[in-house]
Structure formats: structure tokens, C-alpha cells
Amino acid sequence: MMQKLSLKKIGKWFSLIILFVCALLIIAEFVFHRYGETKTEDILLFPAFFGFLAFIFIVFAGVLLRKLVMRKEDYYDK
């Protein structure tokens, strides 16, 4: 079954499913009384914002780190 799916289709469906689940999770935030292990987590949609921003920070910090620690592929072979 997987062989028949094109990458574009998989990407499109994956994005749609994630958006749908995001919407469900926002609704769930208001339907259920969500509480965390710490008081900070009790802030409205805290895990959602934290996850989104942490991910972006990690990726961009990685890009900056490249300038510092990235060398040519044969660096150690010279």
C-alpha cells in the first residue's frame, strides 16, 4: 500500500492530520480541566506553545552551532 503513495501525497495527508489533531487538542484544552505536574504547566495551552517554540529554537540554535563546530567531511582523515 505504501509503495503506491507518492511523497507529495504523504506530506499533504500528514500535514492535514497534524492540523486536525492540533485543533482537537485546542478543543480538549477547554473541555477537560488539564493540569500539569507543575503550576507553570497549568497556563492555558502551555505545552503547545512550549513544544512549538522549543522545536523552532532547537533547529535555529543548531544552524548557529553549525558555524562553530561544522567542518569538512574528511576533517579527521587528513
Binding site: 488539564r34 493540569y35 505545552p47 512549538f52 523552532i56 553549525r66 561544522m70 567542518r71 579527521y76
Partner: protein, 562 residues
């Protein structure tokens, strides 16, 4: 009969027959020995084998509620390895992997420091061949560095243990406090094996250089043996909380930019060890249960991820993200298994990682460590980035495949499917895992709050990924070398020692040149005087002094050099 051998020792000895057995018989032999070893762990807790030598009691077999879960999962990892490597005809790798697992299981049941040291060293000796078996210059150099670091760890352990035993008179593995140099040496020794920050270079250096089945075996034992040793001897040591939290955070950034996917997993392994170290540092029953549970599930899902990447390497011949992509069409089972491993490590509800990580997080929160808790939450987003998304995305999706290949060999598929099944089984029925933990678990994993909170964290992080890909902000993979802490001894220390030697040689050159010139000068003066005096007796006397002087110089040089 079985109970006269500590678990694992049978594997260590049985492994010696592997080179003499034909291909398939060898795998069946290993399974039989493994079953015997696994049966032997099913004994009452307590000391079972003690061997006395020169007034020292070597406790070869001590089992309790802490060693038991590790023993079970070590046997599972060894079984996965046997099936995963079924296609491999190289007896050297099988002997190495099997005896390595045996040594690790025996070390796990050691009740005293010297027995632990003995089998700790056996794990090094047996495992290094898994790196050497790659049979290229990079792997050979890496294996030598691996040996140096592991033996340094062993030397620190024996030095620390000797000091500790001489001061306290107690040789049993028990809780230590960092109030004497011996305990610090032992702490550092375990720290090298557990890949503490700054001491972690060997892990990302060596593991990705091993063979396809070698990396899977390596990922399971050494570091988790160190986690077990830390849990046994340094539970509740506050330093571990801070060390652990750094371990969870810093590899995340390196993993983002690393191109070798097995090296990405090695950074990820480091990050996962951090969670366990934090749990041990907190030291409460809940946190220790979390650390042990995490070690248990981690061995399975990390093996699964390494197995899936190994299968890709085996079929495609490379594991560089920049050269892979689109393999879902050709390796569907491997793709699904990899995604299950990725979802487990990312701690999605209904997967094993969620169950174990929750215990550590609750343990940290209950301890009132809010900042640490938030840093672990941040590291969780990092895990999703490198292991949850990057690994499956770049290997199996990303872009259309440049190569046509086929599904992994049947042995690999069986091992991966079994590991994936275990990830789901523990995720669906957490009580199965909880019943193995050292302390009773009074915690409900699946509450609406917990599930919604975790899903928000993960799904919105994935949304960030989609956003970055959509707007072409996600950094492309670049063929490169990412410098890690091993750079300090591979380049910095190497260059430092080189320059010191060069300076010493220069000094010696200047010294010897001046010395020779002064001798020449004295000699020419003597010769001139002799010619002028024309007296043969004076000539002979001066020549004798010159010969004696030269002989003296040669003797001094000899003494200094040899």
C-alpha cells in the same frame, strides 16, 4: 547445574564455541545458551555464588530488585541481536556480540567492586571487535580511542575501589557518598561509561563506526551497565541531577546538524541517558523507578532505531542523511518499525517511552525541581526533533529515493517487528513494566491531563516542523563532520603534544649543536697549542683528556637515554 553459573557467564563461556560452529548452527547455539542464561535469572533475591581468594570475597552472583529488570532487558537485547544478525556469516562479530552481552549480564550480577571491575573489563575486550570488524582505517582508529577511554574508566574504577576498600574495609557494591577520593574515582569511572558531558566523545566517535550488528549490540549494554552501577552506588547524589539535565540538553543541538544518522542516534542515546541520570540523582522511589523503567524501554526502542538504520545501511550502503530518502517504497516494514521506535522515544501516549519518562518527570516535579522539570520538557521536544522526526524523515521520506533496494533480510525484520511489538505492549499495558521495577508503583499513567499535555507538546512541535519545511526554513543536511568533545584529544591534545615535542627537539638541537661547537673549539685550541709546543708528551696527555671527556659524554648520554 544452571544455578552453579551466574547469569551471563554461561554466555561468556558458550561464546567461545561460536568460531567452531557453521553459520545457522551458530545462531541456534546462541539461542540455546541465551535461554539457559535467562532461566538462571529466575531465582530468589540474594547472594548465590561467592568465591574466596586471598581473604577477598568475590561475589559473582547477587540478584535483587534492581539487577532483575536490567537482567531481563539485557537478555531481550541479546536475543534481538541474535535474530538481527542471522544473515551475517562473520563468526567474529557473533562471538564478540554474544560474549559482550554475557560479560555485561555477569557484571550486572557482581556484588563487589572487584568482580564488577573484572567483568567491566571483559565488556571492553569483547566489544571492541565489533568496531574493528568494520575493517577500515576510521574504525580502527576509533576502536583504539574507544579502548583507551574504556580502560581509563576501568583504571579509575580499580583505583577508586582499592582506596575505598582500604579505608572502609567494605568491598560490597553499596551506596557511596562523595566524601573521599575513592568514591570520586568510582564516580568518574561510571561517568565515562555513562557518557557524562565532556566525557561523552567516545560514544559518538565509536558507535557509528561499528558494523551493522555491532552498533545495535553496543547501544544496549555498556552505557546501561553504567546507569545500573550509578543507581546502585550513587542514587540520590545531587550532582547527578545537574549532570543529567546537561546531558539531556546539549546533544540535542549536535543531533540537529549531524549528517550520519547512526551518529544522530548516538547523540540521542546520550540525551536519553541524561533522563536516567536525573532520575538517579533525584533518588526517590518514584524517580529511581523512572530511571530503571527508562533504561528498560530505552534499550528496546534504541535497539529498534539502530536496527532500522542498520538495515538501511546494509541495503543501501550509506547512512548519510544527505544521500538517503524515499526508502518507504522499498523497505515498508523497516519504515513502520522505525516510526514505532521514533514514537516510543518521543514518548507518544500508548508507546513505551511515555510510560517510563512520565515516572522520571513526576519524580522531578514531586521533588520541587521546577527549572530541571522545564529543561527536561525542552529536551523532550529535542528528542522529538532528532529521533522522532529527523531519523524517519531523512531515511524513508525527505525526497524521492536515489536508489532502488529491497526490504531488510528476514532475520532483521523479525528482530525489528519483535522490538516494535514490545514498545507497543509496554505502552498499552504499563503494569507489565511496573511489575518489574525495584519499588512498588502507585501512579496512573493514562489520565486525560497527562495525555493531552504530552500530545500538545509533541503535536505542536511537529506543527513547527511542518511550518519550517513548508517555508523552507528547515536546514538541509550537509555532508560534514561535526566536532564533538573527542576533538580535544583527537586534535587539540595531539597538536599540543606535537608542539611540546617539537620545542623539546629544538632545545636539544640547539644544546647539542653548541656543545659540539664548544668541543670543536676546545679541540682546535688544544691542537694549536700542541703544534706550537711540539712536545709529544704534552700532545699525548691532552689527547687522553679529550678521549676521557668524550667517553664521559657518551656515558652520560647513554644513561639519560636508556
Amino acid at each position: 547445574m544452571i544455578n552453579s553459573f551466574p547469569p551471563g557467564l554461561l554466555m561468556l563461556l558458550g561464546g567461545l564455541a561460536i568460531p567452531f560452529l557453521p553459520h545457522h548452527t551458530r545462531q541456534i547455539w546462541m539461542i540455546l545458551i541465551l535461554i539457559l542464561s535467562a532461566i538462571s535469572i529466575n531465582v530468589d533475591h540474594g547472594v548465590h555464588i561467592v568465591f574466596e581468594l586471598m581473604n577477598y570475597e568475590f561475589i559473582f552472583w547477587k540478584s535483587d530488585s534492581l539487577s532483575m529488570p536490567f537482567a531481563i532487558v539485557f537478555h531481550i537485547a541479546a536475543a534481538l541481536n541474535i535474530f538481527y544478525g542471522w544473515h551475517e556469516k562473520d563468526w567474529k562479530q557473533h562471538t564478540s556480540a554474544f560474549t559482550y552481552a554475557g560479560a555485561a549480564i555477569t557484571a550486572l550480577h557482581a556484588g563487589d567492586f572487584l568482580t564488577l571491575f573484572l567483568f567491566w573489563e571483559f565488556t571492553v575486550l569483547t566489544s571492541v571487535f565489533l568496531i574493528l570488524a568494520s575493517n577500515n582505517n576510521r574504525a580502527t582508529s576509533s576502536a583504539i580511542r574507544y579502548l583507551v577511554m574504556q580502560f581509563t574508566s576501568g583504571a579509575l574504577l580499580i583505583a577508586g575501589a582499592a582506596y575505598y576498600i582500604s579505608v572502609t574495609g567494605n568491598s560490597e557494591l553499596t551506596l557511596l557518598s562523595l566524601d573521599n577520593p575513592g568514591a570520586w574515582f568510582i564516580f568518574l569511572s561510571f561517568g565515562i561509561k555513562a557518557a557524562f558531558p565532556l566525557l561523552n566523545g567516545w560514544l559518538q566517535d565509536a558507535y557509528p563506526e561499528a558494523t551493522v550488528i555491532g552498533t545495535v549490540a553496543l547501544s544496549a549494554f555498556t552505557t546501561k551497565l553504567a546507569i545500573y552501577a550509578l543507581a546502585r552506588t550513587f542514587a540520590g547524589t545531587e550532582y547527578l541531577i545537574y549532570i543529567g539535565v546537561i546531558m539531556t540538553a546539549f546533544p540535542v543541538f549536535f543531533a540537529v546538524i549531524e549528517n550520519d544518522l547512526r551518529r544522530v542516534l548516538s547523540y540521542s542515546l546520550n540525551n536519553q541517558l541524561g533522563f536516567m541520570v536525573v532520575g538517579i540523582g533525584v533518588g526517590t522511589e518514584m524517580a529511581l523507578n523512572g530511571a530503571v523503567a527508562h533504561a528498560f524501554v530505552h534499550i528496546i526502542y534504541k535497539s529498534l532505531l539502530f536496527m532500522s538504520m542498520g538495515a538501511v545501511l546494509y541495503r543501501v550502503g550509506t547512512i548519510k542523511a544527505s544521500e538517503l530518502g524515499g526508502l518507504y517504497k522499498y523497505m515498508p516494514v523497516t519504515t513502520v518499525c522505525c516510526i514505532i521506535g521514533a514514537m516510543s522515544i518521543s514518548a507518544f501516549p500508548l508507546f513505551s517511552g511515555f510510560v517510563a519518562k512520565s515516572l522520571i518527570m513526576v519524580g522531578v516535579a514531586e521533588h520541587g525541581l521546577i527549572i530541571i522539570y522545564l529543561m527536561l520538557l525542552f529536551a523532550s521536544a529535542g528528542v522529538l526533533e532528532h529521533s522522532g522526526i529527523k531519523i524517519p524523515y531523512f531515511a524513508f521520506f525527505g525526497h524521492e529515493s536515489k536508489v532502488k533496494t529491497k526490504e531488510a533480510p528476514i532475520g532483521m525484520v523479525i528482530a525489528m517487528v519483535f522490538a516494535a511489538f514490545l514498545c507497543l505492549l509496554i505502552g498499552f499495558i504499563p503494569s507489565l513494566l511496573f511489575s518489574l521495577l525495584p519499588y512498588e508503583v502507585d501512579y496512573k499513567v493514562y489520565t486525560p491531563s497527562h495525555v493531552i499535555g504530552q500530545m500538545q507538546l509533541l503535536i505542536f512541535a511537529i506543527l513547527a516542523f511542518i511550518f519550517l519545511i513548508r517555508f523552507k526554513l528547515y536546514p538541509p543536511e550537509i555532508p560534514s563532520t561535526v566536532l564533538n568533545f573527542d576533538w580535544f584529544y583527537r586534535i587539540f591534545l595531539y597538536k599540543l603534544i606535537n608542539s611540546i615535542i617539537k620545542v623539546l627537539f629544538k632545545i636539544w638541537e640547539i644544546f647539542s649543536l653548541n656543545f659540539i661547537n664548544s668541543i670543536k673549539f676546545v679541540y682546535s685550541k688544544i691542537q694549536n697549542n700542541s703544534i706550537q709546543s711540539g712536545n709529544s708528551a704534552v700532545k699525548v696527555g691532552r689527547s687522553t683528556v679529550l678521549i676521557l671527556f668524550s667517553l664521559g659524554f657518551v656515558l652520560i648520554c647513554n644513561y639519560l637515554l636508556f
